[in-house]
Amino acid sequence: MPRPDRSYRTTAIILKRRDFGEADRLLTILTPEHGKQDVIAKGARKLTSHKMGHVELLTRADMLIHTGRELGVAAQAEMTLPLDRLREDLVRGAYAGYCAELVDKFVNAGFEDTRTLYRLTEATLIRINDVDDPRLSVRYFEVQLLLWAGFGPELSECVVGGEPIEPQDQVFSPGEGGVVCPQHAPRVLNTLSLPMLTLKTLRLMQRSRYEQVEAANIPQGPLDDSERILSSFIAHILEKRPLSAEFLRRIRRESAPG
């Protein structure tokens, strides 16, 4: 997508926020049509900043952005979706932060069409804010984000032999990026067990809309298993575990989900 003219209006989700200069902040935002961008929010740390009220992490805002030589500058911002429970509930906030980190890591900065990814991200943050147990929505997000980024794991054919996968327990290879049949499994290093039900769960999440996945009432076992597979796969692609994953693990150990 070409670089837009001097200024543009956009809706945006604020993924990341760092202090910048005297009283400004550097925001990393995800927009539907202008990709992922770093923009400066002037005076955003001050309490009396009129035009820049509410530039807060993991909220949605309407922004007017002036494109600069290096960085864009957000001239106006108005919060349009506060998602309060992400701030009121430690676990929900941590899940949302994890998803934001994944978007940040998987998407290169620049002007590109990110409509699908934007819709997925916005819907996921709303679900994490609203539903009783956010885990399904986070798994669905991981699967769909991987697809969007071109890393969707191969789940129909053996990644070693290429033959169709039989309905039985398999293994998963993060390195090969997909499922390996029991026959070829000994040839591949660092595989994870992939029970049939978990494979079905991953396929369902890869091929369906969220509402369909939700309606399928997937039992907790295959869901936990999907988490194990997906987090290994994501760590393999990124060459390290996302930083938010550790914090999430830590606070989940100490509290019930949701």
Binding site: L47, E56, E88, L90, A94, L243, R250, S255
Partner: protein
């Protein structure tokens, strides 16, 4: 950087560039200013920089930056040692002190939980706060982290760590806009937030 610029100049420009909020342009401007300024100006700056690290330390009680340990606030017999305001940064201590409305003591965390930026609970002075509360002297912990996702997460985490330790836990009243910094709050707003604090 261009070879036309002598090394000592590039070195200072690079050093300035590493400071928060200083871009390459500002860094060059500061450097060339110092080149033209009288020698005393740059020598005073150099001394100040050396003293900054050599003559300051963390207060062993509240972890604020101090020359003497314990810091003047912790050592002040007039201050209420039973009430502790937990803040993210030393500058937040200054903001609350400016109000003149707070007679307790502080605990400086040196940041807020921000997993995405690699800052977890162990990177902050939270364990030290827990130990301090364990001593049983503190009656009220006022959590005065910045309003917003990271400050709120830090507050909730601390609240969880301190639950059952017998201290009352309060949070600054809403009224500070979400996403803003306490450091920049005016005294009236901050005093109102302090006075209107509620149990968490």
């Amino acid at each position: 950087m261009s070879k036309a610029i002598p090394e000592p100049v590039t070195k200072l420009i690079e050093s300035f560039s590493r400071l928060p909020g200083v871009g390459p342009k500002t860094a060059s401007r500061l450097t060339y200013y110092l080149l033209r300024a009288p020698e005393e100006t740059s020598l005073a700056l150099a001394d100040a920089l050396r003293d900054l690290k050599a003559n300051t330390r963390y207060c062993a009680v509240c972890y604020n930056i101090t020359v003497e340990d314990p810091c003047p606030i912790c050592a002040d017999a007039q201050r209420d040692q039973r009430t502790v305001a937990v803040v993210e940064e030393p500058l937040d201590v200054l903001a609350i002190e400016r109000t003149g409305a707070f007679k307790g003591v502080y605990h400086v965390l040196h940041g807020a939980i921000s997993p995405m930026n690699g800052i977890g609970p162990d990177d902050l002075r939270i364990r030290e706060l827990t130990k301090r509360v364990d001593k049983g002297i503190i009656a009220e912990v006022i959590i005065a982290t910045n309003p917003g996702l990271e400050g709120d997460a830090t507050a909730m985490y601390i609240q969880r760590e301190l639950t059952g330790k017998g201290a009352r836990m309060t949070r600054l009243a809403r009224g500070l806009p979400v996403g803003s910094d306490i450091e920049y709050a005016d005294s009236v707003t901050l005093t109102r937030a302090l006075m209107g604090r509620g149990d968490v």
